[in-house]
């Protein structure tokens, strides 16, 4: 087992935890947190799996740098929405949807 594979495996588990968290958790901040775990998991798989032979690969590393910036952009956007909802309703949870 190489360093790359160890962290790819950890990434796969992190991703699954993150998805389950986004689906199951009610508190919006915690769902945002879960989304970040999901992203980190995917990043670890991307770099770890590519480097499973133990040789550094700059291509997925550059992709992850791009991905980290996209993730922080999405996180800030989500937090802006969550804070706005909190300011309007006083809660950090989503109200029931009205879809009729």
């Amino acid at each position: 087992m190489t360093t790359g594979l160890v962290f790819a495996v950890a990434g796969a588990i992190l991703f699954s935890m993150g998805v389950a968290g986004v689906i199951l958790l009610a508190h919006l901040l915690r769902r945002i947190l879960a989304f970040n775990l999901m992203g980190s998991g995917a990043f670890l798989v991307l770099v770890g799996l590519a480097q499973r032979a133990g040789i550094a690969d700059p291509v997925p590393q550059a992709m992850v740098l791009t991905g980290i910036v996209v993730a922080v952009a999405a996180t800030a956007l989500a937090l802006a929405l969550a804070r706005r909802l909190h300011a309007l309703t006083g809660a950090y949870t989503l109200p029931e949807a009205r879809d009729d």
Partner: protein, 216 residues
């Protein structure tokens, strides 16, 4: 609840199993990167991928960041109001730290930007350090939260993206988007990275400072 957890665990196990059982990749991109590094204008492979080989990803990603800032402004009604009597508290200890740390952080940002051409570092890391400096100043009570961005600030936020876009468009004359002439690639990338550092710093700081207003 239990079903989702079990499904996630099963999925993770499946994922791990298939990853452990993967033959070697057919395409060797690290070799291609190494072979073309001398034409990329920089000596650090990650920077070469980020700004040259896959520079188009980076261009769109800066767009995503600017877009996120725009949405933050769009959903925060207070962001458009002029700065009122901003309540800035005095935090003596933090202020003392900030007065020492911020100049060092500016120095570190310049170093990271310059270093990116041949070793780890570059516009992203430099911009993030700039943003961290701004956030620290804010927490110390030395910089109020931001309100409606004036033209100058808007230009600062969008400038890096515009420079990058303009470069991409101008290089079309060489036959493709972002087709740097090898001889000038290093200089062009440094110009783009410098502009990006300022804008990334402002945008990342803005994500915090536009959100972090005292919601009355």
């Amino acid at each position: 609840m239990k079903a989702v957890v079990l499904a996630a665990a099963a999925f993770a196990a499946l994922l791990v199993a298939v990853m452990l059982d993967l033959p070697a990749a057919a395409v060797d991109l690290p070799a291609a990167v190494a072979a073309n590094l001398s034409h990329s204008g920089v000596a650090h492979p990650v920077t070469a991928v980020l700004l040259n080989f896959r520079g188009y990803d980076t261009l769109l990603e800066i767009g995503v960041l600017l877009l996120a800032l725009l949405v933050v402004l769009a959903v925060s009604p207070h962001a458009e109001e002029p700065a009122g009597a901003a309540r800035v508290s005095v935090e003596p200890v933090l202020q003392a730290i900030a007065r020492i740390a911020v100049p060092l952080m500016l120095l570190a940002a310049v170093y990271l930007l310059w270093a990116g051409a041949h070793r780890p570092g570059g516009a992203f890391q430099a911009g993030a350090v700039l943003a961290a400096a701004a956030v620290l100043l804010h927490l110390a009570g030395l910089l109020p939260g931001w309100h409606a961005p004036k033209l100058l600030l808007r230009a600062g936020l969008a400038g890096g993206f515009l420079v990058f876009l303009a470069a991409a468009a101008a290089l079309l004359a060489r036959g493709a988007l972002l087709a740097y002439p090898p001889a000038a690639a290093g200089a062009l990338i440094l110009v783009i990275e410098s502009a990006l550092t300022v804008s990334l710093g402002l945008t990342l700081a803005g994500l915090f400072l536009f959100l972090s207003r005292d919601e009355a």
